[in-house]
Amino acid sequence: MPVNEEARVGFYICHCGHNIANMVDVTAVAEYAAKLPNVVLSRDYKYMCSDPGQEMIAKDVEVFKLNRIVVASCSPLLHENTFRTATSKAGINQFYFQMVNIRENASWVHEDKEMATLKAKDLVRAAISRVVFHKALEKKKVPVNPDVLIVGGGISGISAALTIANAGKKVYLVEKEPTIGGYMAKFDKTFPTLDCAACILTPKMSAVLKHPGITLLSYSEVSAVDGYVGNYHVKVTRKPRYIIEEKCVGCFACIDACIFKEAKFSDEFNEGLSKRKPVYIPFPQATPQVVLIDDKTCIHFKTGKCPQTCAKACDRNAFDFDQKPVVQELEVGTILLCTGFQPFDAARAPYYGYGRYSNVYTSLEVERLVNASGPTGGHVVLRDKSKPKSIGIIHCVGSRDEKTNKWCSRVCCMYSLKLAHLLKEHTDAEIYNFYIDMRTPGKGYEEFYDKLLNEGVHFIRGRVAEVSDWAINDHEKGKLVIRVEDTLIGMVRRIPVDMVVLAVGIEPGKDAQDIRRMFNISCSNEGFFLERHPKLAPVETFTDGIYIAGACQGPRDIPDSVAQAGAAAAQALALIDSGFVELEPNTAFITEELCCGCQVCINMCPYHAITFDDGKGKSHINEALCKGCGTCVAACGSGAITQNLFEDQQILSEIYGLLVE
């Protein structure tokens, strides 16, 4: 192994309180490191990331003329930047630094102090052996495009869009449905204040539409994303509405004129509880107020033999039956993903009879039933139009269950209480809530639960075993019987009711995986988008410039979604207002003298960053296009390609350092 005589390494090992020191003998590692080649100074310290820890590095650099820094502490994904900044403040190039992960990779995962210490010594030796070959590099500054893309027009996306646009930035809001509003638009009231969802949401929806800084792309989906932080190129596919958006004024004359005199097709917005026509608007306050044609049910698209009464009724000539999907290209600097969730499919819990018994409803269906603008005008009636006299609400459907989803969906207890209150108000029926645990953590939430207890709603603690129509006495005949072990009185009970409401949980959206791939972010085990740090960076992702907010990151209610949207907006604005981003200089370059012109590297690059210069007979890497994966470096037979920060010599010294004492 060649050595660099001029390298003067300062080594620091962090106790991290007890986090590292309990499992790794930090003093022993510090003493060991002091004897390694090139090490001028070796210290251990309680908290290296603290101000005194960082200042210690600066002082030592001055006194001991250090020119390389190695810190053994936590993961570089957490604090590499902290120590690079400290290194740079101490007056040496920030890339003359190497971090050793002895917390996540050692002290937290091992039980044998001797072995953990041995491992820490190996890792430290590797880092010291590597750092001497580090080179001084500069981060490249690139300007940040101030425009922002927000994907998803639910309450999170709407809030973030308004915040960012109010700061004077341009926002593109992409929504896959024909209208923005998301699930909140379907709700009647919101817990715990019982204010009307539409009254607080629709003004925000129209504010989005009217805001000069927001371009709303409804009924559209992102189809491709390219680029990097500060400079993303995005392709948005606008699905055909068969209506020219700019011409439609939302008079709905076409809907009345449709050849179908009666609405015949399941209305998605009302959860299938009502019917709509092929030309329709999801709900009266839909934003934008533009109708659309469902080409799967429209006679024109199915047979081509429709007199097009709808188009004839339109006095603005807004119909265009030849519309095709249109791809719109956007240039943005930051992206906010607010893509939301999907409700648990109640049919996956067949023991509760959803789909088998007509009077078993999901909570979303009941939201529509109690809603004044819903399919029944706010009258809670069963399928046979009769009024229920007793209602059972089953909590945790699809949540906290080994068979389905293990997590708590966080909102179901509260919305079940809300529905209990509203159902009581609408029907005066006997209401039974079946719960495992009541989870009401939030401002005014426990008080709301208290209020319900005083309203005469029954609460039965126990997971419901089954819903059936099997009556064992006259009293149960014609009813749905809920069988449950009441764990407070310690016996199995049978509660006959007219209506069952399933409080379905929150799941990752069905396209979450596709979105994750497209935007190059990760998902947690459950399938929700993974944040950069669960506590310190809850709205950031591992991909710079891409932020997440709302239920796409995990189950959360409206106040939390709005708070997160604000946080994500602030992160995006901070990046935009800083004006530029610094890119990690881990790009690759070709040393022309060594390049043999074989062009093997060219096919390796997924970004087409490598081109071949026919005149010179050499390959060339375009630094602006290179993303720094290093795949071409590993493929180069003549060793002509170097990846900054991950040079062959650096990695080989690391391997050597790991293994050779």
């Binding site: 990779n105 995962v109 190996d122 993303k627 590993a634 050597y656 790991l658």
Partner: protein
Amino acid sequence: MPLTEQTKQDWSPRIVAFFCNWCTYTASDLAGVSRLRYAPSTRVIRVMCSGRIDPEFVIEAFTQGADGVLIGGCHPGDCHYSEGNYKCLRRYHLLQRVIAQMGIDQRRLRLEWISASEGKRLQEVVNEMTETLRQLGPSTIREVVQTVIK
């Protein structure tokens, strides 16, 4: 696979683990944060992408005395750089043939796709591989190479 008492007490192999920054390295951070205990056998070298892993690195690790080499990358289709993991897979198959010819048991080299959320999987893989290597015993290739050089 939980670590047996036997493995804890006996000789511990040294595994050089090349983990990609985006998936497997993050998974190993997650294993740490979740306090999942596993054998103290791995020594992680972080690279941006599993596609960066030059076959030379693997051979070098073996000749310098590694008892095993573990490569961790993103699942197919999930690579942060689109397809670096596929390039890694091709090299892995080639390497398996090369190391066999060098007299290195093929079980000493393992490639695993471990996503950022699979801390548990990381624990299982490390423990399984440690157990396998413990049964195979220390690698002798370093001594062989040293002798040849002399």
